[in-house]
Point group: C4
Chain length 362, copies 4
């Protein structure tokens, strides 16, 4: 994969993938207003770069929950990677490790947590980084009705070495994607959410009409329980309001992921770029704030950090990288973004990320 932009990457993935798999990954809810606005909102923001600063040495490194990573980038949790590449989440994990960035593995992965964890431990040295980086892996969690399922999963991912769990809270029910409904998945019986007991192959639900039945009924009480029960730190993903973010932090969440789930479940929400500043201001230093949705350029990353994010998560582009090049494709996506970030930092007059402050965005 060369350095061309991610629109082209998506086009190439569309050509390669089965229509259902592409639509499953690319589609958004309803009229895809939020899907489009997520991208547009970053583009609307304007940079106010500083000049004549010493940018001889650019350091893209940052720490997340105490772990040093190569760049303020993570692989966002997305499901069912064997739809996109035979190696599935193994390849994703290997690519992320090679790029020195965290992989947030999804509950609905098609590879076991142990296999994913093994890929991290065997990652080669990153010679281009200033130090030997072994970026953490986190595990994205839904809360099903049965807490014992969650408890089993928590102990298993902690034992496998995952550094945190990320509770997704913005999908109590599935959204409806007209695009996905027009191109249904034709997944074979072996593409299953193997980490969930008894989960059938076709149970992802996304894109289908539905009854409104609550599938993942997490409440603040559940969050409090999870914080107590989890052997590893808990972050909350899917927050779009400052009041919700603060309550999560009060209940013990160590991080807030500002997200609208890539516009996949509730359409017409605020774009993540528009939701971020208030939340980051409210949370302040009480927890770490992250954001995903629509980030496609190094300039978007700097904008997100200027608005208060510690790092950003990359969803669909990582899937396209996986589809087109397996582990190398994933690595290339993140190396490319890190390259753009490096250049953007130099052009903005910031040598390290702590210098990225609010005034860089108009």
């Amino acid at each position: 994969m060369d350095s061309r932009d991610f629109d082209e990457l998506e086009d190439r993935a569309r050509e390669k993938l089965a229509p259902g798999a592409f639509a499953f990954a690319a589609g958004g809810a309803d009229d895809e207003i939020t899907l489009a606005d997520n991208i547009a909102a970053w583009r609307r923001l304007r940079l106010r770069p500083r000049m004549l600063r010493d940018v001889a040495e650019i350091d893209t490194g940052v720490s997340v929950l105490g772990a040093r990573i190569a760049a303020p980038l993570m692989v966002a949790p997305t499901g069912r990677h064997r739809l996109f590449h035979p190696e599935g989440e193994r390849a994703t994990a290997r690519g992320a490790a090679a790029a020195g960035v965290p992989y947030v593995m999804a509950t609905t992965s098609t590879v076991t947590v142990e296999d994913v964890a093994a890929e991290r431990r065997s990652a080669p040295e990153r010679h281009s980084a200033p130090e030997r980086l072994l970026a953490p892996q986190w595990f994205q969690l839904y809360l099903p009705h049965d807490r014992s399922v969650t408890e089993g999963l928590l102990d298993r991912v902690a034992a496998a070495g995952f550094g945190a769990v990320v509770l997704t809270v913005d999908q109590p029910v599935y959204g409806a994607s007209p695009r996905a409904a027009r191109a249904p998945l034709e997944a074979g019986p072996d593409i299953r959410a193997v980490n969930l007991p008894g989960q059938p192959a076709a149970a992802h639900g996304y894109g289908a009409a539905h009854s409104g039945t609550v599938t993942f009924p997490a409440t603040f009480d559940d969050l409090a329980w999870l914080v107590r029960r989890s052997p590893v730190p808990v972050l909350v993903k899917g927050i779009l309001r400052a009041d919700d973010a603060l309550r999560c932090v009060e209940l013990g969440a160590r991080g807030i992921l500002v997200s609208n789930h890539g516009g996949r479940h509730l359409d017409a929400t605020v774009a993540s770029a528009d939701a971020l500043p208030d939340i980051a201001t409210a949370v302040g230093a009480k927890a770490e704030v992250f954001v995903d949705g629509g980030i496609r350029r190094g300039t978007d990353i700097v904008k997100a950090l200027a608005l208060g994010a510690r790092a950003v998560l990359i969803g669909r582009p990582a899937v396209w990288g996986l589809a087109l090049g397996g582990a190398d494709g994933v690595r290339d996506v993140f190396e490319h973004l890190r390259g753009e970030l490096t250049r953007t930092m130099a052009l903005c007059g910031v040598a390290k990320l702590t210098e990225v402050t609010r005034d860089l965005v108009a």
Copy 2:
């Protein structure tokens, strides 16, 4: 009818209907600025969903003028349904009753009030609703020059069991629709406004050039008279200003329907979504506020309720449902919207509609 969106529904209705009938229903005044802006205004609004709330049980029910209905939805008054389906308003009434939502029958209906009322009484049980719902029917009224005509109609609709009359005030004269003028109606002589004495078949006027002659000359004095004279509560439809709304309430109106008549008569008015907040704030608890115009999604419904509406009226989509599927088509449109509303509520963290407050909209 499956769960696809209403743009597709309109396309299918366009293929099925005679050009004149389609244009009569679909068209708007002049340059159709308001027709388009009604839809765009809802889309411009952004939701700020709440997370981690208990949404295990979603209740879409609400009461309107004291009557419990299945969802904050009504069939907006639109005329001449036998242009769209042989059963005309009988089918509409049956579909609304099956969905558990009120039908606001239009003065210019092509079926008698008694026949429409009979459809409600014979509606089957709604098994999917938490209780046996028999949603009310309301009657939309124009004030012709001759008050005795109105008096006869009032007594007749009250006797037939209609729960309220809705006075339309935004059409003292007809607007002009270039689209409708290009595709004139070819209604047969038997498609008449049968509830008006001596009304000829082609007298609807909409879309034609005209002399500006006042056809329905309602004033505040007329409203005061109507409130005194009507055996049932009176609501006013077509209000776009807070001062007008307040004066109607002072004169005894029990409800205000914020509406620009679907952009059919005066072009370039404020979109109904933009007019709603001021009116709802001004009226407060003194009357019930409703809105129509451009609502196409469950997210639009939540936005309308967040801005102060108690329920929303659905016009054109109901007509397309009628055209494509008769009573079942109408029912499906409202069941589909109720499904979208249920999902939207869950995704917004609200279990019942009283929890939909102003802060849900950015």
Copy 3:
């Protein structure tokens, strides 16, 4: 000409006219930003109609400089009408008189002032108006270098019965129209500005490259002189700033025509709709304020009056009417607009124009 909209009228004129004549009338300066924005600015405004008012009798009449006219409409001064119709300005004058609206004849007319004046005096009775209306004619004036030319013209137009002169001040030099440059005029030698001594046929200048030579060098001193010298009241056309408007009024101007010359000379000015409110507020009752540029609908007229205009001038649509139907075409354009205005007033709840106040526009 039927009641269809003016976009269609322009399309039909484009088909009928020679390319150069059409481009001369239709084109704007440079990138035609102002040409487009003049129309868009009216469309951006939203009406807040009043309901339940007594609109049984709509009166579109208004007085301008003390003369009663049928509607708040005038024929804007545009030049060289024999390019568009063999009768030229005679037809325009006859059409305006038949519609009961003032004709502002241009300096660059191709018919003598006496012939134009004669058309007004022989105008037939307007049976549709409440009274016998004989709308005034005004004369649009440029100030050439030689004041004696102006003096001759002033005395001549006053003798012919013109009720006012309108000094155009926004064209000290010609603008450049790329559109007009691509389709040059092929006017025959007999299409001349016959009211100017020794004016050659091709001297209009518009659309050509130029040296910036000042052709019509009016200053405030010239305006003061004109007010003293003119036998009839003086208005100023082409004002876009409140300070300029006030200074004109202080020097004796009886009216201000807010205008950017239809976007023909200076591009990227404020749209006339956007310039109007400040000027109208500043001028108040000290003079009468008019506006032209982009008005195409009855709703635009009500918006203009709500923002402080006493009447509006119609330029290009009048030319298209002239091209397509001669005097009848001009009359039809204004009767059509008056019809739209009547309907708009009824739908806005205003029975006479004094009821059109600022709050009608959002």
Copy 4:
């Protein structure tokens, strides 16, 4: 070259030039957001012209750093002109001199500073100007790692008669242009940056993927050194923030060039039109403020001056003029702009540039 607009000029240059040369000049960084917004931002601004002023004599002259020039226009520094015309920067210099405007020669020129300087001294008299103008030449400078290279260049350009050096500070690293990457340069070995010692032909870097290596590491310390060391005044080019501008002025910069490098290196910055007002206000009379980026019309020039610029720099259009007509083409571009400026000034009611004040822009 006739007086048509610059979009057409670019189209004609695209047809004539090799794809790589065209893309090198025309392209912008990443998604070309800033490239487009630079143009759009000027277009969004609206003029508030003054009327009835004495514009019989328009004077477009202005002084820059004490030198009188024919118009507030300069040739922006752009590189490698022999890609566009065999005479390269000699032709550009001759064209600028013929138009009476300064030429800011780029470091990456393909002709020696002495040859460029010679073109100025042999420039013919400008008969159309009020006086014999010999506009200055300035030299654009990058700071390479080795200060001795800079010192040699400084002494050489001063000796050649250049009136100032313009330090470009917004390109510490190269940006990436997908457009340029798709159409690589095929420059022959003789198209070199001849004024830099040992500079290879293909070393421009622009458009290629890159490692983020800092190439031109200017800091405020370097600026302070340059101000002390330079025999001629120093200006700073590439400033987008008021705080940076003020610090440059405090360090001795005599002028600030507000610029985002034509959108070539950092995408999604503020448009230069949007950055200008704050900087001009902050700098006030302490230094001279200039601007480039997206200026294509005489109206844009007046807007820039109204927002605080003393003169504007023209980049790509000058290159198109060079490509299409050599020295004459460059001269024509600037004579055309000066003509548009003259007309715009007359139509705005300003006879000299000191009358262009902030209130001319809405």
